[in-house]
Structure formats: structure tokens, C-alpha cells
């Protein structure tokens, strides 16, 4: 760290390196976005799926669950929950949560969703499950 290598050389490498790698990152991001339509199934997004995503967000589902592996690790992965429970099973599970929880167990709140809202949530989860996520999750258990 001494001799020929000066502070101003270090500074120049910092600026040059940062700009170069940020531009490379932008280029990769740009390429990613050109490839995404084939992978993210955007053509299938309906108003119902959009509504489902909103319900997912405003009830802070990610505060306990993971979705595509991201979120909290307190409750199961939901990307493939429809594979585990099926559409009707998923809806029935959400509907059946006791208001006061299950004694001694991790409990999911009772959200009092309407049937339309439950349909929207399941439509959203099925949409997420249809995304090409490089074969993740490893198995049906999520």
C-alpha cells in the first residue's frame, strides 16, 4: 500500500471501476428485461391477478411467508401452495383460520376475505407458480 500506488490512483480506480460495473449492471438489467416476457407470463396477468397481488400486499402476507423464497421464514413458501393444497384447499385453509388462533401453535390471522377476494388471491398465487423460476422451489414442500 505504499510507494508507487498513490491515493489519486486509488481514487481514479474507484470512480472508473464503479462507473464501469454500474454500466455493466445496467446492460445486464436491460437484457434481462428483454427476456422477461418469455418467463414472467405477463400476458396472462388479469385484473383479478392484479387484485390478488394487492391483497397479498395490503395484508402483509410476506411478513410471515416467503414467495419465491423471499420474505419471512415463519410460515410456508407460497409460490407452490396451490400444488400442495389445490385451489379449493388453499381457499378453505385461509377461510378456516380461527380468530383467536390455535393454542400453542403458530397461527394465521382470520382475514375475513370475501369469496371474490379468495379467488383473486388464489389466481395470483397460481400466476406466481406459473413463472419460470429456474425450477425453484426444490420440491412440493417449498
Amino acid at each position: 500500500m505504499s510507494g508507487a500506488f498513490t491515493k489519486s490512483m486509488a481514487r481514479n480506480i474507484f470512480y472508473g471501476g464503479t462507473v464501469f460495473f454500474f454500466l455493466l449492471f445496467l446492460a445486464l438489467s436491460f437484457d434481462t428485461h428483454s427476456q422477461l416476457p418469455k418467463r414472467d407470463m405477463r400476458a396472462n396477468i388479469t385484473p383479478q391477478i392484479a387484485e390478488g397481488k394487492k391483497l397479498w400486499e395490503v395484508n402483509n402476507c410476506i411478513g410471515c411467508h416467503t414467495l419465491m423464497g423471499e420474505g419471512a421464514y415463519f410460515a410456508p413458501e407460497l409460490m407452490n401452495v396451490v400444488v400442495r393444497y389445490g385451489d379449493e384447499g388453499t381457499k378453505a385453509f385461509i377461510q378456516a383460520r380461527p380468530k383467536e388462533g390455535i393454542p400453542g401453535r403458530r397461527s394465521m390471522p382470520q382475514f375475513n376475505f370475501t369469496d371474490e377476494q379468495l379467488d383473486a388471491i388464489v389466481a395470483f398465487l397460481k400466476h406466481v407458480n406459473s413463472i419460470n423460476a429456474a425450477n425453484w422451489p426444490p420440491n412440493d414442500q417449498g
Partner: protein, 458 residues
């Protein structure tokens, strides 16, 4: 202190410590809920406690960053802060907004909070770490801009050191990348893609510049090593940070619908991310070894060395542990991530803010360093909190390995909750480590109130 306006840092530091206590208490609630599932249910469900825990962390670190910057910038620029009044006004705005947000989380169901705070106008809520209601997010932007305006102006009218420049780049980056918190497209893949531009480019990008800058500042002050040497190190470290960390974002793009080539880019570049942290550790130890003076504030030096080591372990080693795509395929979204997150945040950001407070607070209170007695108590707090965090991380890692095995890798994978029940022992041990952490934190706070009788008599 050298400049009167540095005094505005004090309320920022006090608020940071106060919110830190709240964060830890909610951490203990969360830890308890892992093993006593219905603890505080339905009054404080897990998701609410978790939002409080993570949001308090972010907010108190931001208080620490701002306080640290307000303390450091006048000394670096060798001029008074542009507007101490603005800094104080922003302090109150940020504190009230932060407190109101936490009360909102606890007082009403999240969906109601979203309804009440205009989430229908711009839908930004309900995404991990960015759960804040719209007014809070706007408040963060306003406070950040006023803060940046204040310190940028100070630097412009004063000396422009490398340390101040790196800090400014870090803080401006923080503000710019937060803007992605307002972008929430209906396409979840794009949503997740840009969500990481805030989350990853903060903690594995620009925040490390803030960390490096604070560390360099305190090392100059406490070791008396030549500024030229320290600033050269700083440039090398932040270069390594950004050339590995920016493309390293790719390690979040393995399984969210993005193209498979990210598995290569992400694995290779994020495998290099430990290097800047290792350099930081070597830097801290080398500077302390080469010290030209014995600074009376020994505990600040301890925090400086500690943050180097713990950031390297937590962010570097524990990050590397699960960053390669073939490994991450199995560990993604398990307790391994939680283990890494805890030690990385503690080692890199909690400890650097506590280092800054440890160095600056005595000076703000009119002395070069605290009494010996107070420093010894703070060192106890350092070791209790740090060792407790090491054990929290080890227990979560053990839980994570078992979770991966039981739920994902074995021949007969178990359902999530069945696997969770089998690893409860490790969650219990994590919770008790958390209690030790809290004891360390209590000692830390007590260290501010220790009076030295001899000093007083003299």
C-alpha cells in the same frame, strides 16, 4: 468538540439507541413466537412484530448514519454545518414520523393502515422492509433530501476530503436507490427485480461506503495514522465493495423469474464480496497496530476492530456460505438467510454506528473519553452483545441446515411446519442468546450513566 454545530448529532444518537432497544424487545417477541406459536396472538401477530423489528432497525441505523454524518462532516470540512436548525427540525420530523409509523403498525390491522394512508393512491406497501405507509416513505425522502442538502452544502463550502466524499456518495446513493421503493408494478418479477435495487444496493452497496467512511474517520482520530494512508485504504475498500457488490445483486436473481445467466454473474461476483470486508478487517487492525498515539477512548477502538471482524464474518463468510447458485437452490428462503442477515447487520451496521456513538458521544458531552469505569462497562456490553450475536447466528445456521435437510434435501421431504417442530430446540437456544444480547444492551445503556467518583472529586 471543535465545531458548535456538531452538537446536533447528540439527539440523533440518543434516538438511535432508544429505537435500538425497541428493536431488540420486538426481536425477543419474534423469537418467542417461533417456539410458542400463539404468544401475543392475535394482538401482535408475527408479521406485525417483524415489521416493527426490521423497520426499527432501518430507522435507528438511519438516525445513526445521520448523527454520524452531522458529527463528522464539520470536522472533515473544517467548517460549521450549513444549517444546524434544519438538522434539528429534521430530527423531530423523522422521530415523529417513525414513532407514528410504529404506532400505526401496532394499533390497526395492516390492511386498515394501508386504506387510511393512501396506499390506493400509490401502491407501495406490503413489500418486505418497505412496509412503511406512503406518508412515511415521502417523509423519509423529505428528511433525506434536507439532510443531504445540509451536509453537501457544508462540504461544498469547506474542505473536500476523501472521507467526506465517500460518505456523500454513500448517502446520495442511499437516497437515490430508496426511490425504487415507490415503484411497484403489477408484474411481480419486475417488482422483485427493482425491489432489490433498494434493498441490495443499500446494504451491499452504498451503505458500505458509509461504513467505510465512518471507520476511516474514527481510525484517523484514534490512531493518528497519516490521513493519506487511511484515505488510500478507504478508496481501495470502497472500490472492491462496488465492483463486487453491484453485479453481486445477481445472487438475488437466481429464482425470481429472471434469466439463468444471473446464476453465473451472481455466483462469481458475490463470491468476491467477502474481499472488501476482509480488507476492512486488515485495514482496521493494521491502522491500530501502526498507531502513533494512545487515544484515551479505548472502547471506540474496540468497536472499530469489532465491526471489521464481525462484518467480515457476518456479511462475508456467512454471505458466501449460501451465495453460490447450486447451494442457494437449497438454502434460499430458509433460516440460513436469517442467520446471515442477523450477523451481517449487527457486524457491519449496528457496530459501526455504535463505534461512531462511542467515539463522538463523550466529546459531545465535553470530554475526550469516558471514565475508565464507564469504558469497562461498555466493553462488557460489547462482548455480551457480540458473543450473543455469534450464538444467535450459529443456532440459526444449525436450524437452517436441518431445515434444508428435512424439508428439501432428504428422500422424504417433510412439510414446513413438521420440519419446524423438529428444530424447535435451536429456536429456544436462539431465544436465550437473544436474552443475553438484551442484557448486553442494558449494560451498554448503563455505561452512559456511570459516573467516576474520583474524577468528580478532582
Amino acid at each position: 468538540m471543535q465545531y458548535q454545530s456538531q452538537a446536533v448529532a447528540k439527539p440523533y444518537f440518543i434516538a438511535a439507541i432508544g429505537l435500538f432497544v425497541g428493536q431488540i424487545l420486538f426481536g425477543l417477541i419474534l423469537g418467542a413466537q417461533y417456539v410458542l406459536g400463539d404468544f401475543l396472538f392475535p394482538e401482535i401477530p408475527f408479521n406485525v412484530a417483524r415489521m416493527v423489528h426490521t423497520n426499527l432497525l432501518i430507522v435507528w441505523l438511519l438516525f445513526g448514519f445521520m448523527g454520524g454524518a452531522y458529527y463528522m462532516i464539520p470536522e472533515e470540512a473544517e467548517t460549521e454545518l450549513a444549517s444546524p436548525k434544519l438538522a434539528l427540525a429534521m430530527f423531530w420530523i423523522f422521530l415523529v414520523a417513525g414513532a407514528a409509523t410504529i404506532v400505526g403498525y401496532l394499533a390497526v390491522p395492516y390492511a386498515t393502515l394501508a386504506e387510511l394512508t393512501g396506499n390506493n393512491l400509490v401502491e407501495t406497501m406490503g413489500r418486505e422492509f418497505l412496509e412503511q405507509p406512503l406518508p412515511t416513505k415521502v417523509g423519509i425522502v423529505v428528511v433525506a433530501l434536507a439532510f443531504l442538502f445540509n451536509i453537501t452544502l457544508t462540504v461544498l463550502k469547506g474542505k473536500k476530503t476523501a472521507i467526506a466524499t465517500v460518505l456523500l456518495i454513500g448517502l446520495w446513493g442511499l437516497a437515490v436507490f430508496f426511490l425504487f421503493a415507490f415503484y411497484n408494478p403489477v408484474n411481480i418479477v419486475i417488482d422483485k427485480f427493482f425491489w432489490w435495487w433498494t434493498v441490495h444496493l443499500w446494504v451491499e452497496g452504498v451503505w458500505e461506503l458509509i461504513l467505510g467512511s465512518f471507520l476511516a474517520f474514527v481510525l484517523i482520530k484514534t490512531t493518528g495514522v497519516d490521513r493519506e494512508v487511511i484515505e488510500k485504504w478507504l478508496y481501495v475498500i470502497v472500490t472492491l465493495t462496488l465492483i463486487t457488490g453491484i453485479i453481486g445483486t445477481g445472487h438475488h436473481y437466481y429464482w425470481i423469474g429472471t434469466p439463468e445467466y444471473w446464476q453465473w454473474w451472481g455466483s462469481i461476483f458475490s463470491a468476491l464480496e467477502p474481499i472488501p470486508f476482509f480488507a476492512m478487517t486488515v485495514f482496521a487492525f493494521a491502522m491500530v497496530n501502526r498507531r502513533r498515539r494512545e487515544h484515551p477512548n479505548k472502547v471506540a477502538v474496540l468497536w472499530a476492530l469489532g465491526t471489521g471482524v464481525m462484518a467480515f464474518l457476518g456479511a462475508g463468510v456467512w454471505g458466501f456460505l449460501h451465495t453460490l447458485a447450486p447451494v442457494n437452490f437449497y438454502t434460499h428462503g430458509t433460516q440460513i438467510t436469517a442467520a446471515h442477515g442477523h450477523m451481517a447487520f449487527y457486524g457491519a451496521y449496528v457496530m459501526v454506528v455504535l463505534m461512531m456513538i462511542s467515539y463522538a458521544m463523550p466529546i459531545l458531552r465535553g470530554r475526550a473519553a469516558n471514565s475508565n469505569k464507564s469504558q469497562v462497562l461498555e466493553m462488557w456490553a460489547f462482548w455480551l452483545m457480540t458473543v450473543a450475536m455469534v450464538f444467535i447466528t450459529l443456532f440459526l445456521t444449525a436450524a437452517g441446515i436441518l431445515q434444508v435437510w428435512l424439508q428439501r434435501a432428504s428422500d422424504a421431504p417433510l412439510p414446513f411446519m413438521v420440519a419446524q417442530d423438529k428444530i424447535a430446540l435451536f429456536y429456544w437456544m436462539r431465544e436465550w442468546s437473544g436474552v443475553v444480547f438484551l442484557i448486553g444492551l442494558i449494560l451498554y445503556i448503563l455505561s452512559f450513566f456511570v459516573e467516576d467518583k474520583e474524577e468528580k472529586a478532582a
